[in-house]
Structure formats: structure tokens, C-alpha cells
Symmetry: D2
Subunit: 397 residues, 4 copies
């Protein structure tokens, strides 16, 4: 079979420096791999066909670097970008590693911690913008509680909003061309985390000062941990015009945050997601926020990166086949799939008169018991449709 | 010990007719109890100290009743309300029982189903308003998918919004004093349900035509099924000004929808929830959407109802003791709990200048390594605080 | 692509009468399909290439049938079997539908209920044996609790064991050639069910009077509800010599019991399971205990049945390709996969002397730090291997 | 209220050195607390009323210590034990921290790793026995897979059994008075872990060479992660005579391994567990395998330890009140709770004749429809009983 799944920059695949660079520390074990030099990462990913990289401030410029050191690091890193044509479409802040953030960052009880977190973020925004980032991700990994008594959750949301507003105000003042993307997660490392799902983030955004500057960065693993459908969550983000960025990886529901190679778990969910991204006109990055298994040495790291991208391309190809498959088209028709695009209220649901008129019409129809019986007993052929999709995925049609 | 946990109407406890009336059907078993007459329910609940009842259209007026039958039923029911002083603060529609809704109601692929669902809802709104309802709950139990291929989720959200808009338009045209409350649920009976969490509903509402008319009706069991914190979800709803109603019951995470007696599982979550409701100034109903165990006969049903209310009152009393406990106050101070109410950015987070000034100040402070070290090494005394709460809950302080 | 995935009797596919016959009742909705005549089921499944059917006593002979009615039903059913060549390899008892079992069956608190459950089971064993069953499944769906206070769990296990022992004693006395298979489930319809996983059943069996007569009937959905690996659970059952039967379907972790079409969720788990069954020499039935979506009419029911079998055959074909793929073989070698078959203790782990000698040898080797360093830094190439499997599953290799 | 919840040595409370000594590393953050000197730990815990401590080999004697260093450490540690009267009832091996174990220990694919793991365990057994341990725990945290293709699970169980057998052979040869306790866990740090639940371990043990030497060490968090009832799992272990040790902590279902302070989550489960331990005659340790929140400094660590023990004692007191409460006794009678202790088959379930005779008797009784109707419609009063327990737990009765 001819293999056409070769990643190229126009596919807009990006990786966090921390993903391939993950040394394999977990709650029960120490590092199994040496740190990666960000410059090497840029070159290796460029060779594999990626479009760019992203980073937390500390991934690139270690905490405590002097201004001179920072300058040297940035210069060297930029040279790697220039040499390879790689981009930095997104940047973010590490507000979770240092013990100072153990009780929270933007929502810490201690105002000094919150202020430090905000100042660190502003510095990191500068760094990201300097390297070309147009999206700034905020993952509030420490924004949460184990002990509900200790933090008023409504005040915590006030503080969270205040921090996001402050970053927006700063970006506006500086004239940066930067949008923010909130990354939800339900738990881990905190017992419960604020803004646990895409939905909670979408609701939160609408209460901000400049909601248009803020969208979401849904992560496959994070929604899936809660057993929610990632595909449907991303669809709602797109529906709301808020899909600014996305984190691709793999996860089993109800388990620790696994961040496995994209497609290695939940292949059907991954397929519907890729189909949605490809068909929705989403123009953002296909960003992998995953890490190699702890069993891997350095060469496994690059197998991991290659696998993430290949699986995406394979699934995108399946999505095209889905659209072109006449038997699937027939099954979709049997399921009345096109009907969902038809207005329910002819004349418009915001007109009370049109709504009342529709009711009258339905009453007349439903007066004939056969009408309702026919609607109730019709089949939708979903078993056949689903099996067709399964066989498409399995490559036997 | 003097028992002061006697429910009274001013506590605003309400029950769905379908809760005490649940006959005990489950996926593997048939009914174990006889249907309850709604009039008996009103009298029994009034005797127990409840404030009112709620219903689905079909709970009160069986589907297919003639106008004359409907009138007789309503008259008899209203007489029971009048005799007891019981209220109907909320009503809702059954859009899930009849086979016509097997593929969805407001988001069914077939436009005829959607129109029927809408017409049924308008009739049910009339019934609810006629009996005094001021909140109308929408639980979209059939709005979802097992086969993602069969339904465009963004179009489904369009249709969902259209239906809610249509109901709002109708209510406005009629001049009803009625607000809507969307009830999220992640799954069951569908594989995945649209608007799976409080957050998703909050985000959705903001894209409606009249967002002020629509809030949420969070349910303990539904959020907990996904392992999310119900307490934090309700807090976000309150923060957004959207807690229009609430459904109280009990549930274990990661299991089927259990709808157990309030407080029978997750007592700590229940405590924090009651504390939040009592302290937030929430003036709505304390509505129980639960059902008795299938092991119960008729007398167990009323034990169940009594238990729901008693547990709420016991926990409300604990919340008052929490607020008055000097050792807890001391532990809260050690955890800097009051600090969450302090503005992070003096002068206002929406001012770029104030934000930049704050960063300068933090940079100066953080230049001294001892400053950060002190912040990083301080303790918050959360173990002590949490243990105090535990002992308060266990009644040993 | 030539389609070689046609089910035939030698594949040993069987279906419960209750699976294709499921009318679509769920906790929120009534039946959507008419009951199926068991005789029609036998004919339809035979046409599709199945090997046989299974049943609960009540599926075939409705409760309350007179001896004459029973005889007529059995005769007519047997005629359908004879006409089609279909077999009844397994039978079971319905100990969950009738209200008498609401508090349990073999572990009900009330001894009269337990005795009734046992008598019903003995009758059902007679019926199963009469129709040729060689495996008798026991699913204890009502054996559990919501209220832990109400039942001593150790005594409940005594009663459970007593019931299984009694059935074995009966079978031995009658000289039936019948083995029992316990089917674990963690919860639903009870809050918690005894013997919640394959493991708990395996442990329980060893405390029975005739452990050799009793094995397990693992179900994909039931293990997966708890987030456990079905593949690993079945492997342990095989390892213990206890895989007497198996129930195939599909399920998302942490959700209600879904019983979807085999392979429609968790396709990777399904693949490893099929690979294990095919490679282990398992000679039992491939039994589908699933049901069609509620969206289906009668024609969808048979699409469902066909899909279950086709997916199994597709995956069995993938397993053969896996075994024959040279690049996968190479990756397995890189992962030292064959090493797991080598004895750890040369000379035998049950010899204290051999064990001590091994320690001496390891101490000598580990005295050289390079030895441990080499072991610690080697890679296993799991990312590459897993990606190869993924691409095999997706049909692109 | 007089406080009688003071821990004393006769309560048999023990803590792992690694529990209070946990420095607060998590997947997203570095250490927040300094390491604790084991000698200090012994003294502090003795002051708090504990009975003893447990350890992994490396907790006490850092890897790479010379024999002389080991001797000095042991001598100093023993002096602390002697000075305080503290015991070491249990010891275990760290087979998860070092990178050499990244692909497994007893079930690693590479035989050299397995042999190293076994040798390390034998050394650790010597250390444990030297300090008085009578129970040796085996937690196979790295025994599992992310990539199912890479490891034959049946062979892995062979290797697992071989390792346990080897340890038993060694202990027998040395004449140690030591029993083994397997500690199950479903996942984390591996994607799936072998022997994921108490049940799987119980089944596994029966296939070992010396099953009497091996029992289980169930952990509250580990069973609860899978949503299983810890109380029922421990009950089955007791029923099988296999509860050799127990790990107490707290956990929310479906989340990462939280290891919170005992009783801080799931208080009802904790109550039933304590009731079971106290009433079953279990004479082993009440061992806490938990760690303080990451928000805590050194003083929070000791609050944590104190809280674990106090909550146990509070719940033990509740269990005594439960047994003495006349209203609870009445509710238990209404639920026929004593009936579970009655034999189902008079004359013995292992007699085919007695079983058949029972069936005849039931048939006769069931011939009267009123008999079955009465059994089916009786209530069990579980709502009342459960509410009584809830109010007992909440301290209002």
C-alpha cells in the first residue's frame, strides 16, 4: 500500500518542547531520559515535518536566568527556528512546578503568590510574543482545591477572571497581536481544578472583560479523564467560535492524566475529532501535548513524534473516504442526518407568532394517531452506519 | 439530643411527583411499587413539611387525555394544593419516555420529531404556568448520540438553541413570568448527551437570543457521574448569576445514574453544597430529584422523603456551626482563606498601567531570594482544617 | 477488497435470545420494538451464519407457563434448532426481573427468597440441559447492596457459595454434563454487586465445594465499566484454566452498562481480546451479549447481529496479520517480548538453594555499575511497536 | 464533648516511613518539603500514639549504601525503636523508583531485570526480618503494560507467580516467620497493572506453590480508583482468610491515586470498613499509606498523622454505637438482616438429595400465588435504616 502519510509543514503540526523533552518522571519514579536541548528538538522536529514548537517560559529560559543568559538562549533558539523555518505559534507559562504555586497561582489564597504568578506570566508573554506566538495558553493546573473549606470558589473565580483580564489589559496596552486560550482539566495534580471542562471555560469566558480575546485550548486527555466526549466538547467550542488552539494526545477515561501518543487510545474518538477539525475550516495548529512512554530511550522519542503525526494524517484520509463513500452516504440518508440542518420553526424561532403557528400545525398532524405511530416506529439504521464507519476505520472498505 | 431538624414550608423543600412516585423500574427489572396518585403525594408531602411539588406534563396529565379529562385532573390537583398550601414552583416536559423521542427531541435528526417535541413543550409550559410554576426545567435526556457519524454536533447545538429560543419567544408573547433552567447530564440514556455539565450549559446559554431568561438546574447525581465536583459547579453557576433551580440527590462517581436519597452518598460534598446554598443568598427551591431504593414498599417511600429533608437541615446546622467555630476560624486564617477576597491588582486588573506597575513591584520583591523562599515554604494548615471539618461533620466537635 | 468476513457455524458465534430480542426499554423510556419469537430468532441467526443461541429460562418459557405449555414451547423451539442445525451451548436463569428478587436472589436476606431463587435455577438447569447446554451461566445481577448496613458481606458470600454448591450437587446427582460460569459485574442494577470483577469470581471459586465445576463468564462491558482491562482479565481467567464462556459487546469506562455492538467502542481492546482468544486455543463459544441501539427497528436488529460477527472476523484476521508481520516481529524483538517466557530462576523458583544462588550471581553482576546502568537506559521501542499495531488496525499496513 | 479519641499503641496504628516522609513531588511539581530522618519519624509517631512503622528497603537504607553504612543505619534506627517501643510489623521493597524497573520488575520482559528485582527483594526481606517484620508487602506498581502487544499476559502471570514462589522458598529455607501480602492496584504508574483488584490477587494466590504463605494487602485508594467498594473487597479477603495487612487512606473514584488522609473522602465507606475490621476479629495492623497534602509544611505532616488515627477511633466508636442502637436494631430486623446467616438448604447444600427436597418444598409453596406475591411486595425499610446510619455518622443520634 502506498504510504502517503508523510507530515509536512502545511499540516500545521506542532509539539511542546516539554513533550518530546519529557524525561519520564512520574509519581513513583525518577527521570529515565536526559533533558533535550531545545535547539536539537527544533531540528529533529523540522526533519520529521513539523510546523513548529511551543513552550512554557521555563522550558526555554530556565528560572533564574540573568537577562544576558536569557538573551543568549533566545538568540540561539531563534537561529534554530530561522535555520529550519520552524515557528512558535503558541507559548505558555509554567505556574505549577515551583513550590510557591502549591496552593494555587492565579487563585492562590495568598495575594503575594497571585501577584508573583501574574508577573511571571507577563514576562512569559513577552518571551512568547518575541518569538512569534499568536496564541497564549493558560492551563491552571494548580488552580483548585483538596479542602473545599479553605477557598471560597466564587471569589476564586473572581480572582481567576481578574488575572485573565490583567493579561488582556497588558496585551492591549503593548499592542501585541495575541489571543488567550484557556485549557480545562478536571483534576490532577489538584483534587479538583477550577474550570474542569471545555464547557466551564466557555461559560467563564463570557464573564470576562474582553471575551473576544479569550478562547479555549481543549485537550483530548483532559476531557476524556472525566469520561466526556472530546469530539462533542470541541464541537461546542467551534460552535461558540472559541477554538483557538487544541492539544492532541490519548487517554483512557477515569484514569490518571496519561498524555499518550495521539491515537494510541480512543481511535474512534480521534477519528471523529480529526474529521471535525478538517471539515470545520479550523485553521489553527494541530498541537501534540503528549509524551513518550517511560520505556523509551531517545530513539523512541522520535518514533513517538512521528507516530502522532502519521495517525492524524491517516485519520484525515479516513475522513475524506467517509465523505466519498456512497454506502455511508446512503446510511446517513436513512438516519435523516441532513435533517438536523433544517430549521425547526419555519419563519424563525424568535418569533412568538411563528412558534404558536407551528404548534397549531403539529396539533393538527398529531390528531391522527398514525402520524405519531409512524414517527415512533421508524428505524434510523444506526447499527449499519456505525458498522460502516468501523470497517472504514479498520481499513476493510 | 434535641432534634431540631423538622422540615417546614419556609425551608422550600420540593419533590418531583415522579420521585416519590417512582415505581422502581430499572433496566433489569419491572415495577415494584404501585403508581402514586398525585393528590395523595401532595397531601403526604405537605404532612412531612414540604413546600411544594414539581412535575412533567405526563406525570400529572397522562398523554392522550382529552381536554375535559385534563380539566378534571387539574381541578382536582389544584384542590389538593389549595387544601395543603403546597406550591408548584417548577414544571417540565417529558421528552424521553415515548419512542418518538428515541433519536432525540429538540435535536432529533427528523424535523417532525423536533416540531412535535416543541409543541409538547409549549403545552406543558401552559400547564406549568397554569399551576403557578415560575421556573421551567429542560432536561435533554435524549439529546445525544451513540453514533457520532449520524449527527452534526454543531448543527445539533443550533437546533437546541432554536428550541430554547422558541420557548422563550412563546413565553414572552404570552407574557408569562417564567424562566428556564437547563439541566445538564453527561450520558444515560444516550451514549453521550449534549450539554453534559453545568459548564457546557453555561457556555451554551450565552449564545441564546435571550440569555437572561435562561439559567441552569444542576443535579448532584449528574455532575458526580463524571467525577466533577458538584459544589464547584454550583458555585460557578452562582458566580454567573445562573442558579435558577437545583436538583438534590446522591450518586457515586463513574456509575449509572443512581438518584439516591440526598446525603446517602458523598456526605462531604453535600455539606459543602448546603453551606454554599445557605451562605450565598440563594432563594430558590431545594428540590429533590431522587427516588427510593427498589427494596422499599410504600412506607419506605415516605421515609425516603423525610430523610432527604432531614439531612439537608442537619447539614445546614453544621454550616452554621462551621461559621461559629473559633478553631475553624483560626485554621482558616492559617490557610489565608480571607486573602482570596483581596484584589490581585491594586487599582484594577483592567488597567494596563496598573498591571505593569504591579509587575515592577513584584520584580523588586522577588529580587530578594528570601522573599520567594518564604512564600514557597510556608504551610497552609489544610490537614488540620480538613480534619476539623471532618470532626464537625461526624458530630464530635 | 475481497470480503472474507462471512460468519459460519464453525466460528462458534452465539447470541442470547434476549440480545436481538431486546425491546429497547431503558430507565427513561418504554419499549421501541416488538418482542421477537425465539423461533424466528433461531432462523434469522442461522441465516446469518451463527452457531447457536442461549437463553434465560423466562426468555423461552414465560414464567407461569403450565407443564403442557412448556412442552409445546420446547418442542417447537427444538424443531427450529433441528431445522437449522443451531445449538444451545449455554443457558442461564433470570433471577433479576421479578420483584421478588429486589433485595437479592442467592444472597437475599430473606431465606424464602433464596430458596425460591435456587428452585427456579434448578428448573432452568433442567430446561437448559434438555436443550443441550453444556455451560450454565450465573449472573448475580441482584446480589449486592445499596445500604451496606443491611447485609453482612461475609455471610452473603457464604450464601452465594452455598447456592453454587447446591447447583453443583444437583448436577452431579442428575449426572448432567454441565459446568458453571460465574459472570462478574461491578454495579447496576445494584449500587455494588458481589463478585464485581473476573478476579473476585476467580478467588471465590477456589472456596467452593467443587471448584473444578465452576469457571467464569467475563463480559467486556462489565469489566470495562470499572476501567479494568478486559484483555488482561480474560488472560488471567485463561491462565487459571477458568475461561468457560465469554460475553462480547462494547462499553465506555465509567458509564452505565451499555452492551453495545461488539467492536463499536474500544476497538483496540477488542483486537487484543480476539487475538488472545484465537491464539490461546480457547474452544468455547464467542457469545454476544449485546443489544441494538434503541434507534433501530427490526431491520437494524439484524444489522447489529451481523456487525458483531463481522468485526470479530476482521479482528481475527488482523491477529493473523500481526503474527506474520516482519516489522512487528522486529519490534517485538526490540522489546524483548520473548524474554517473558524465560524462567527467572534457573533451576526452579521453588528451590531455596536455586533462589539463593541466583541472588549471589546478581550481586556479582550488579557490583559493576555499568551493568545496572545499561539495564536502566536501554529502550524498549514500545512507541514504534504500538504505532505498528495501530496502523495494522487502521488497515494501512 | 469529652474527647476519647486518643491513639495508643494497642490500637495498632502504623505508618510507612514514606508517608509522613513524602516530600510532595507530583507529576507537575517538585518537592515542597525536606526529607524526614527515619529516626525523627519514629520518635514523632511514638509521641502521637502509633504502634510502629513500615518501610521500603530504600526508605531506610539508601540504595548504594555499603555494608558498613547499612549496619550503622540499622543500629541507629533500632535504637530509636528500642527507645520508643515502636515496632516494624511490615516491610516491603522499592521496585518502582529506579529506571531499571521502567518496563516491570517481577514481570519485566528482560530476564536480567527480573533477576535483579528478585535479588533486591531478598535483600529487603533480610532487612525487614532483621527489624522484626512479620508481614512482607508486595506492591507491583511497575508490573503492567501500556502496549498490550509487547507482553504476553499469561506468561507475565507465570513470571509473577515464579517470583512470589521464589520469595516463599527463600523464607522457608531461612526459617523466617514471614508471610506475604500482595497489594493490588488497577493502574498508575502503568496504563494497566497486573492483579488490579483484591479479587484478582485472591485468585492468583490460589495458583501459587504455597498459597497459605500469601495473602493480600488491600488499599482503600487502589480499590476506590476503580469505583469498587473497598468494604466489600476487604470482606471477601477476610472471608477467604487472606487479610494479612491493610492500607488505609482516602480516594475519589475515577481519579489519580490520591492517598489522602484516612477519612477525608468517602467517610461512609471508611465507617463500614472500620466496623468490619473491628467486628471481624482482625488482629493485624491499621496501616496508613497516605501522604499529607502538598500545601503542608512540617507541622501539617503531624496534623495529618494525628488525623488519620483520630478518624479511625471516631469511626470505631460509631461502630460500637451502631451495635448498641435499639432503633438501628429494629431497622435491621425489618430488613431481615439476620436472615443472611441462615442456611439456604436445610440439611446442607452439598447433598443433592437435600437440594432436590428443597425444590419440591418450594414448588409446593409457590403453587399458591399469594406466597410469591407476599415475598415480592414486602418492604425492607432500607431508606429508614440508611438514614439512621447517616444520622449516627453525623453525630445527631
Amino acid at each position: 500500500m502506498a504510504d502517503t502519510f508523510e507530515p509536512r509543514p502545511e499540516h500545521h503540526f506542532t509539539f511542546g518542547l516539554w513533550t518530546v523533552g519529557n524525561p519520564g518522571i512520574d509519581p513513583f519514579g525518577v527521570a529515565v531520559r536526559e533533558p533535550l536541548d531545545p535547539v536539537e528538538t527544533v531540528h529533529r522536529l523540522a526533519d520529521l515535518g513539523a510546523y513548529g514548537v511551543s513552550f512554557h517560559d521555563d522550558d526555554l529560559v530556565p528560572a533564574g536566568s540573568s537577562p544576558t543568559e536569557r538573551e543568549a538562549i533566545v538568540k540561539r533558539f531563534r537561529a534554530a527556528l530561522d535555520a529550519t523555518g520552524m515557528k512558535v505559534p503558541m507559548a505558555t507559562t509554567n505556574l505549577f512546578r515551583h513550590p510557591v504555586f502549591k496552593e494555587g497561582a492565579f487563585t492562590a489564597n495568598d495575594p503575594a503568590v497571585r501577584r508573583y504568578a501574574l508577573a511571571k506570566t507577563l514576562d512569559a508573554i513577552d518571551l512568547g510574543v518575541e518569538l512569534g506566538a499568536e496564541v497564549y495558553v493558560m492551563w491552571g493546573g494548580r488552580e483548585g482545591v483538596e479542602v473545599d473549606a479553605a477557598k471560597d470558589p466564587r471569589a476564586a473565580l473572581d480572582r481567576y477572571a481578574e488575572a485573565v483580564n490583567a493579561c488582556c489589559a497588558y496585551v492591549r496596552e503593548r499592542g501585541y497581536r495575541l489571543r488567550f486560550a484557556l485549557e480545562p482539566k478536571p483534576n490532577e495534580p489538584r483534587g479538583d481544578i477550577f474550570l474542569p471542562t471545555v464547557g466551564h471555560a466557555l461559560g467563564f469566558i463570557e464573564r470576562l472583560e474582553w471575551p473576544d480575546m479569550v478562547g479555549v485550548n481543549p485537550e483530548f486527555a483532559h476531557e476524556t479523564m472525566s469520561g466526556l466526549s472530546f469530539h462533542l466538547g470541541v464541537a461546542q467550542a467551534l460552535w461558540a467560535g472559541k477554538l483557538f488552539h487544541i492539544d492532541l494526545n490519548a487517554q483512557r477515561p477515569g484514569k490518571f492524566d496519561q498524555d499518550f501518543r495521539f491515537g494510541s487510545e480512543g481511535i474512534r474518538d480521534a477519528f471523529y475529532l480529526v474529521k471535525l477539525l478538517e471539515e470545520s475550516g479550523y485553521t489553527g495548529m494541530r498541537h501534540f501535548d503528549a509524551h513518550p512512554y517511560r520505556t523509551e530511550d531517545a530513539s523512541g522519542v522520535w518514533d513517538f513524534a512521528r507516530g502522532c503525526m502519521r495517525t492524524y494524517l491517516i485519520l484525515a484520509d479516513k475522513a475524506r473516504r467517509f465523505a466519498a463513500d456512497p454506502e455511508i452516504a446512503e446510511a446517513l440518508a436513512a438516519a435523516s442526518a441532513a435533517g438536523i440542518h433544517e430549521e425547526t420553526v419555519p419563519g424563525g424561532a424568535t418569533s412568538g407568532a411563528a412558534v404558536s403557528a407551528l404548534r397549531d400545525r403539529v396539533r393538527a398532524e398529531a390528531a391522527d394517531p398514525a402520524w405519531l405511530h409512524a414517527l415512533a416506529t421508524r428505524g434510523y439504521g444506526m447499527e449499519r452506519l456505525d458498522q460502516l464507519v468501523n470497517e472504514l476505520l479498520l481499513g476493510v472498505r
